[in-house]
Amino acid sequence: MAGFNDDFMAQMRAAFREEAEDLLGELDAGLLELEAAPGNRDLIARIFRAIHTIKGSGATAGFAKLAAFTHRVEEVFEDARQEKLRVTSDLTDVALKACDVIRVLVGQNESDPVPAEAAMITSQLERFRKHSEVPVQNPVEARPGSAANGALRFRIIFRPKPEIFFSGCDPVSLLDELNGLGRCTVRLKDDAIPAFADLDPELNHLAWEVELISRQSVDVVREVFVFVEDDCELQIEEEPCDEALLVDNSMAFPSAALSAFLEVGRSHLGALEEAFLQIDAGQHDRIGEFVTAARTVANGAEQLLNEREIPIPATHPVAALHDLSRAAASFAEGFSDQGEKACIQENIEVLFGITDTLKRHYTALVAGDVFSVGNPSWLQRLEQPGGASQAVPVKGSPEQEQLEVYLDAASQCADAMNGALGRLADKDAEALPVLMRALSTFCAISSNAGQTSEAALVQPLIDNLREILEEGRSMEENELQAIETGVAEIRSRVEALRAKTLSASQPRPEQRQEGETGGIHPDKTAAAVSSIRVDQDKLERLMRVVGELLVARGMFPILARKVEAESGHTMLAKEVRDAGATISRLAEELQDSVMGIRMLPIKTVFQKLPRMVRDLARSLGKQVEFSLSGDETELDKAVIEQIGDPLVHLIRNAVDHGVEAPDDRLAKGKETTGLIEVAAFNQASSVVIQIRDDGKGLDPAMLKRKAVEKGVITDAQASSMSDQEAMELIFAPGFSTASQVTDVSGRGVGMDVVRNNIRNLQGTVSIQSAVGKGTTFTIKLPTSLMISKGILVSSSGQEYILPIEHVRDLVRIPSATVRSFRGGRFAHIRERILPIAPLEAMLGEESEARTQEELCVAVMNAAGRDFGVVVDKFHDEVESIIKPLPAELSELPGLLGATIMGDGRIVLVVNPEQLAA
């Protein structure tokens, strides 16, 4: 075998040497001619071809060094051919020297060294190419039309011969190829389709007229048809056309109609995606929703398309959205009644492709693109073939459509059989071949459409008929009867099948009407709640006033006490108190409803998560079951708007770093599918969002090691750190647990940013984790940003408010239990040693030593640690609206802002995060 190969290669080398000798001769002559006529394009083309052939054949024959060197020469002439480079006598000079090197290389063996001058020539050639970066216009050879840089409009009529399929050619692929050359509009010419009785399904009866707007030359267009030139009638006309047609500016829609559609698209594609994810999770009863959403998008698109007098090309995103969503609706509808069987992987994959592609079309539309991104090839089956000039709704799913085509043909066959039978009954012998043809056609289309029992049904009839025809006799009575029975059976089967397909596509007739009512599904219209849009500023002003009202009601108990104390009117005091209670209740109700206006269900944030988790898990090769609960939980609009990013980050982390790869999970004895649960719920006046995974958990020892490595903490700090504190390390700036930053999480945005974002929302985030068992992040957010509760305290004669979210405990401890250690003071509070300090000292003011026997200590938690704040006195729990400090005071450390109390006093609100720092 090896001998044969060597022999073959030796033969090839010899053959090539002969060929190369001829080519080199031609090359020499050509180059000398070129020196005399440096602008001659034909000559350049000839030289290029010769070099190209030497390179190509040389490579095939195993002359690698030759091919490499010749390639450099070829590059230069390729540039010359494209007029990127002007041929000078210097160039021809170097090229001639290159020919000499080629000659040496052709003669020598592959193991011989490359001639020394090769390198020098190569670098000289390279210099020619570099010097010619500015294109040089060649005045001699400006052939109009052929080197088309401007746009051309081609009118192509392509009528393949009937036998085209027998050359293995698929005309559609040629149309696709044309479509790749520019903007293509295809019209089907079906004028040559013969009457059904004469139709041979294996012959082509179609022709296409194509308008192509392209920058390509006519040669390139003609090249598409290179293999079928002799098998078709082909007309190609070209004319220059406006550049703008390449990117058609006229592809505009009335802006109001467009924005209406964009809105329809946004909401219903969202619904479609959600429905898909549910279907993906096995909920086949959501297919109906998918169909409705797809249909709504299709109808909206149709309405938009109708806004234009001139049809938009099928390549436009709106047309693409229309076609695909309509096809998608029919496709999904095709199996909507199949129950659980509908959720087979194959369907899911197609639905996924549809969902994804629709989204991309929509994004292209939003971005103002006039060409759609196109559908992936495997989705083409859902579309109409060829890309017709106008968006035409596709009838149904491929299977259903195929079945409908089959049924149409089958009934025509049955009609033809009946007609022939009638003639046979009248003793018309001519009808026999007609009957034969109808029966065999029916047999062929049936087996083709997979209706094998129908095909088998007619087979004996055909055999019988063939026998009669061959023997040239007339038909016996019993034979005629057998055929009549057979035809009746065929007809009833076809009708039965048709009835079945019709019921499958029932809900379609009202489509048209929907389109005209604005592309909104009637159900949705009925369910739509009437609403008005309100300027957010107005809402915020209302919110502020309500907030102040809540604070102002605090005046009533004070008034009541005053009345009682100063006048002794107990009854009057009670009335004041009662009035205050009523106003208080009303104020609370008012607060609730005003807050309700600003409250949105967290659903808007949750919606995008399942898809993200799915895609992410797939890209990482992990299996993740994702569950969401509490998506009705409401949060303030401002919180909703800002919680998305931190939430997404935490969930990405859970998928990326939390859940292990299936193999690892298996090795640890876990299910291969990891679980990520996200739950939102109300807890007192807060909303809690928990992100729980059952992955590998956080390893405190590892975290400490990493933190020390990265210089976040010192060795000493690490050894004194509790496990919980070690876990909090992931929130430290510049800390990332992944040893390698993947493109999923990581990427600069660290957990410190997550925590800061949540803190900015006056929220907190905490971690519980167990190695090997999983991690839970708990985000706690205030339901409202505007009104916050706090503890009113006084310290050094000044009143302050401590935000209640940060207050863990209010205790009185004996002063004697406080110990000093290395300049700090510590107290034993509820079994723990905590650092304590007077509030005013924390705020950077002078602090007087307290002399009381008992100290009031507020145990606060902020920045991941607990500490005690010593104050003079605890007062009430108060509700307050925090107003930012005026600019000149905003630099004061340790303060969040100020609030106005019910009696008009101004009190400062402490910022525990800064106290903790």
């Binding site: 190969n5 190509g56 095939t60 399929f165 050359s167 293995g168 050619c169 293999f227």
Partner: protein
């Protein structure tokens, strides 16, 4: 699913080159040493494209093309013939026998791939 292409050539190095090029591009490649061998290897696997040399012992490429066009399973399957610049009449003959297209030898891998993509997209 990857498309299956059968390369028919009596020169094993030529088959090797075709196989290498096409399998690099993700196609599934079958080999046959001549027309008769090719017909014998049919039926086991659906072939999406045939690439055949013309001059071969036992059964040449033109005859093979005719045979393929006569069989139900392969009558619409694309067939690419390998020709040389010097035999334009062979091109016509191949076309008449039902070949889909041709590649002129010698050719480069990218030319081969371009033609394959054209007839078997």
């Amino acid at each position: 699913m990857a498309k299956t292409i059968m390369t028919i050539d009596d020169s094993s190095s030529m088959r090797q080159m075709v196989r290498f090029t096409l399998s690099q591009a993700g196609y599934n490649v079958l080999e046959a040493s001549d027309g008769r061998d090719a017909l014998g290897k049919l039926g086991k696997e659906k072939v999406d494209l045939f690439i055949s040399d013309i001059n071969m012992p036992n059964m040449d490429g033109i005859t093979l093309t005719k045979e393929l066009r006569g069989a139900v399973a392969t009558r619409f399957t694309p067939v690419i013939l390998l020709t040389t610049e010097s035999q334009p009449e062979k091109k016509q003959e191949g076309k008449a026998a039902g070949a889909t297209g041709w590649i002129v030898k010698p050719f480069q891998p990218d030319q081969l791939l371009a033609v394959v993509k054209k007839v078997c997209p």
